[in-house]
């Protein structure tokens, strides 16, 4: 092969710049854009594989987090009542009417959310409420709300999520961690909750012995110039003696738990998961869990951590999946996890409960893997594969990226862990419509097949730009889309009434 000047130039550029790209370039996350309402909707801006088509079902939703179907096949959408950026509205469960419009089935009090996930089982909805404390709610079709379980350590960085009723009749749910990596820091003040809840900290599920690590930071709670010294699994500004033991208890942080449908004390299923956002039982009977990996923020930033899809054997022993010392089965002390401008993370657990397993699939760093479901019908095709929503990066708040990550629906081959794109915006970049100046999808947050398995519903949280001051979510920009084989999906386009 003749070596042209172009090849030489690329080679020189490659060598010189691969070390410099990340350092030199500004962050270019998908939320780092300007937005002027109204949000435009046009399915022609969305790409799906040949033979499939997209329709918009409902627009004008405010911070929607879950789509769910009842026993009559009717469609419901959960609105969280909260969005990152510390914006509180009223949590709502909405029924989409076949005649158009919506009916409010139930509402929560403003400030109690976020309502993060919903499942329907034998006449009732089970909703996870990520407020402080986190709760599991049972909502009747009449709108009556009962509390099934409470006391979950929620309303830190992450919440109580992902209700799903298992084949054993138990209600499974997840609890995200309070912090990014085990240490309360100034990032939590920036998120807004540290000032409201200064005593919050992560709660381990089992007894852990913590290393001598103490993390020094600014102390925004005590004014300018003040310093704080914080130990892992302790409140902000609270240190601890070397090699101290933190007692575990359930409910706890970063875990999958289950509870009887009539309520009671939660039981531990799995732990060591940072932000387990969604769960489904797969065609093989295993419980699959989507997890958001570490961010590059706070007192213990971790670089280059993937988001993951895990499988959990709910019949086996309780397993530990690695948080706060492993990412995707790899120790965070290893190469690749050191932030470019910070120290390599050290372990904070003196002993690890076990060598954590490897994930089924890994997603792009900061892609924010959220809801997923499995194709079970030949009518839709791609039977047995998982379809996973990627909410998209929240750079620069979670760390820097040099191009938008996420903002699409991927499909996963469970046997190999290989990912392929299924639904995304057209164009040269993978990015939200607001970034591209187009009218397609923004931030997919949940996907669910209809009860017959013929149509994939894709719930889009809406427009949420992010800058150095945090996220700026726009209400009434959420959309429910659906995807099906050509000719199988209705193209009805219904608008939510204000």
């Amino acid at each position: 092969m003749a070596v042209s000047a172009r090849h030489v130039g690329f080679a020189l550029g490659w060598v010189a710049l691969m070390s410099g790209c990340f350092t030199v370039l500004p962050s270019q996350g998908g939320g780092q854009t300007e937005f002027r309402p109204p949000r435009k909707i046009d399915v022609a801006d969305i790409a799906v594989p040949g033979g499939y088509e997209v329709a918009a079902v409902t627009i004008g939703l405010t911070y929607p987090t879950a789509v769910v179907f009842d026993d009559a096949g009717r469609t419901y959408v959960l609105e969280a009542g909260y969005a990152y950026g510390e914006v509180f509205t009223q949590p709502r469960l909405l029924r989409l009417e076949s005649s158009g419009g919506t009916t409010v089935v139930a509402t929560g009090e403003k400030g109690t959310g976020p309502w993060t996930g919903a499942a329907f089982h034998e006449g009732n909805f089970y909703v996870t409420d990520g407020g402080n404390p986190g709760r599991i709610l049972r909502i009747a079709k009449s709108g009556r709300i009962d509390v099934v379980a409470s006391g979950m350590p929620s309303r830190g960085d992450h919440h109580t999520n992902a209700p799903v009723v298992g084949p054993d009749g138990m209600l499974y749910f997840t609890q995200g961690t309070i912090t990014n990596s085990g240490v309360v820091g100034t990032d939590n003040y920036d998120f807004g909750w540290l000032e409201r809840h200064p005593a919050l900290h992560d709660v381990p599920c089992r007894d852990i012995r913590v290393t001598t690590a103490i993390f020094e930071s600014d102390n925004p709670l005590s004014g300018e110039g003040a310093r704080a010294f914080t130990a892992p699994f302790m409140p902000f500004g609270v240190s601890a003696p070397a090699d101290h033991v933190v007692r575990g208890s359930v409910p706890c942080s970063g875990a999958v738990m289950r509870v009887r449908l009539e309520g009671g004390k939660p039981e531990l299923v799995a732990w060591g998961l940072r932000n387990p956002f969604s769960m489904r039982f797969g065609p093989d009977g295993k419980l699959y869990v989507s997890e958001n990996g570490f961010d590059v923020r706070g007192s213990r930033p971790v670089f280059g951590a993937s988001d993951n899809l895990w499988s959990v054997d709910v019949h086996g022993p309780v397993r530990w999946f690695g948080w706060p010392d492993f990412s995707g089965g790899l120790p965070v002390t290893g190469p690749g996890f050191k932030p470019p401008r910070g120290p390599r993370p050290a372990f904070i657990l003196a002993e690890h409960p076990e060598q954590p397993p490897l994930p089924v699939a890994q997603f792009g760093v900061h892609s924010s893997v959220t809801g997923f479901d499995f194709s079970t019908s030949d009518a839709f095709g791609l039977k047995g594969e998982a379809f996973v929503a990627l909410f998209g990066d929240m750079a620069p708040d979670v760390g820097k990226v040099i191009a938008p990550v996420g903002f699409r629906v991927m499909r996963v081959d469970l046997k190999t862990g290989h990912l392929e794109e299924f639904m995304t915006n057209k164009g040269d970049k993978t990015a939200p419509a607001s970034y591209l100046g187009r009218a397609g999808i923004e931030r997919p947050i949940d996907v669910k097949f209809d009860p017959r398995g013929e149509t994939l519903y894709v719930l889009d949280f809406g427009v949420m730009p992010v800058d150095g001051e945090g996220p700026h979510p726009y209400p009434k920009t959420g959309v429910l889309w659906k995807v099906g084989k050509k000719g199988a999906a209705s193209l009805a386009h219904e608008e939510v009434q204000p």
Binding site: G9, A11, G13, L17, S306, P335, Q362, S367, T424, T430
Partner: protein
């Protein structure tokens, strides 16, 4: 010639940091049939995808839009550079590295 090289290096500076979509979901999947191709894809999914999703830019630069020779790609994987860690022979054998480089070539969207 010197100017040409400088101009090419400048173009590479921009291109090496940019994003590049492979073709979207409407495009056919990358076909992998042989054992070597499947090995390369698995290694990519386990080690590369999280920073270069599908070969596109993300946390790290795109690798699907650069006409780089195999030897340079091998060197980058083996020794790392900048924020990217290297992979030792113990972590990735020569045979595995061959398979991975070959798979990276299949991700190219066309020069």
């Amino acid at each position: 010639m010197k100017r040409l090289l400088l101009a090419a290096a400048l173009a590479a500076l921009v291109a090496s940091c940019s994003s590049a979509r492979r073709g979207g979901p409407a495009a056919p999947d990358v076909e992998v049939d042989t054992r070597k191709e499947l090995l390369g894809r698995r290694l990519f999914d386990e080690n590369c995808h999280r920073c270069h999703p599908g070969g596109e830019a993300g946390l790290a630069p795109a690798i699907n839009n650069k006409p780089l020779p195999a030897e340079l790609i091998r060197r980058q994987i083996r020794h790392g550079h900048g924020a990217m860690p290297g992979f030792t022979v113990e972590q990735m054998s020569e045979k595995e590295l061959d398979a991975l480089v070959e798979y990276v070539f299949t991700l190219r969207r066309g020069d």
